[in-house]
């Protein structure tokens, strides 16, 4: 008995180290699983508060650029509205008839990283503002990511610059589907895989989100084709994409909720159950 106690006393530093190291490795592995409940996340009261404070200060430095971008977007929306008015007589439309499949929210990015292999963003809206897990996040230029964790006042987003992200995407011209992923090398370039060999693709083609996911609406811009080659088995293309979004400088983003998501998921689950 005495020997055991002595053993513990002699090796107390090693034991302490071993316990702490195990805890941290466990925490690390836990973050590798996509949206398990996280205990350690920047969407908590203290870190969220500090990041908000930093952003309140840092926002002033990019006001000019942000305004320019919002102007551009307004201009584009105005043009679209005018085109729409020409086709439909808008006077008759009451806003109660304008029920949409999607609900939009806005948020500000208070923390953004893009230099790791599993990048996350933190937003200043949370459960209080009816933000939920699995909402789509886009900016005025294109796709950003998916909400992965929500607290009362903040939310974290799994960026498309994350080795675990897989997003359904398609070629705008031909409609061929593939999945979007990221090879960690460059924050401005993402990869599209699983495009079948028979697809007609060429440099400069636009890539948009496909309608097959319950998260993203169809046709959100992603990027243009930079270059492509066949993969090892010669069956699928491996495509490098220049992202429209500058993922290194994000300020304001939109969140999109698909109001039918629940229904679709339940329906698909029902089909799977019947098959079994």
């Amino acid at each position: 008995m005495q020997q055991i106690i002595f053993f513990f006393i002699r090796n107390k530093n090693f034991l302490l180290f071993a316990v702490l190291f195990t805890i941290s490795v466990a925490l690390t592995i836990q973050t590798h699983n996509y949206h398990n409940d996280k205990y350690i996340s920047s969407a908590n009261y203290i870190t969220g508060g500090i990041y908000t404070f930093r952003n309140n200060v840092a926002d002033y430095f990019s006001l000019g650029k942000e305004n320019e971008q919002l102007l551009q977007e307004n201009l584009m929306l105005r043009k679209k509205l005018d085109q729409f008015k020409e086709v439909v007589n808008v006077e008759k439309l009451d806003s109660t008839f304008l029920s949409s499949k999607f609900t939009y929210f806005t948020a500000r990015v208070i923390n953004n990283n893009y230099s790791k292999t599993k990048n996350q963003l933190t937003l200043d809206k949370g459960r209080k503002d009816s933000i939920k897990i699995d909402l789509a996040v886009i900016s005025s230029k294109g796709i950003v990511g998916i909400v992965s964790d929500v607290s009362e006042n903040y939310a974290t987003v799994q960026s498309i610059l994350n080795t675990q992200s897989r997003i359904n995407a398609k070629l705008k011209n031909s409609g061929d589907f593939g999945s979007l992923k990221w090879d960690t090398k460059n924050p401005n370039i993402a990869q599209l895989i699983d495009i079948p060999r028979i697809a007609k693709i060429k440099k400069g083609d636009t890539i948009v989100t496909g309608g097959r996911s319950t998260i993203f609406p169809e046709g959100i811009l992603i990027g243009t084709i930079k270059d492509f080659h066949l993969d090892n088995d010669d069956n699928y293309y491996y495509v490098n994409i220049d992202l429209f979004n500058d993922m290194t400088s994000l300020e304001h983003v939109y969140l999109i909720e698909n109001n039918d998501a629940q229904e679709i998921i339940e329906l698909e689950k029902g089909v799977e159950d019947e098959e079994q």
């Binding site: 107390k12 702490l20 190291f21 941290s24 490795v25 466990a26 690390t28 836990q30 500090i50 893009y114």
Partner: protein, 169 residues
């Protein structure tokens, strides 16, 4: 540890965490090179201080950075590791005598000091990046990140040492 030391270390802990998460994590030279100056705390921890306490404090330090960075426990693991291995590194960089005639890290021979700093920095970065990247496929990225971020960190730590040394004399 003297009273003065305790206060200095508490202040250093807090200042380094804030400096790291508010400024240094956003440098991103060439897209992925960041200095990790916060381990300065572990390097400068008094040589005669309690070793168990150092391991625990280092874990806390790493965990604070992890909470801000959403990275699980990669910094905590790396910090606990270098805190545990520190006595060994001290021994081979300053010789066996460090335990008896209390070598001052700030006043040690520059070459010995550099060995000490560089070994701990590279060990920390290697453990941290391997846990963060967590895949054999990206081994090149791991080595590249360790090397470049490591060099950046070492330069910053040496600069910090020089700056604060001048102040005290």
């Amino acid at each position: 540890m003297k009273n003065n030391d305790i206060i200095v270390n508490i202040v250093r802990f807090i200042v380094l965490v804030f400096l790291q998460v508010l400024m240094l994590n956003n440098i991103n030279i060439a897209g992925y090179i960041n200095p990790y100056l916060y381990i300065f705390f572990i390097l400068m921890y008094p040589l005669d201080g309690n070793k168990g306490l150092l391991i625990f404090l280092s874990f806390l330090l790493g965990l604070s950075i992890d909470i801000f960075e959403d990275s699980g426990g990669v910094h905590a693991a790396a910090c606990a590791f270098i805190a545990y291995i520190r006595p060994v590194v001290l021994k081979y960089s300053f010789g066996v005598s460090y335990e008896y005639n209390s070598v001052k890290i700030k006043k040690a021979d520059p070459m010995e000091r550099l060995t000490y700093i560089a070994s701990l920095v590279f060990m920390h970065h290697f453990v941290m990046f391997s846990l963060e990247i967590f895949s054999v496929k990206h081994i090149l990225l791991l080595l590249k990140s360790t090397l470049f971020s490591g060099i950046f960190t070492i330069i910053l730590i040496v600069c910090t040492l020089v700056l604060f040394n001048r102040k005290s004399t």
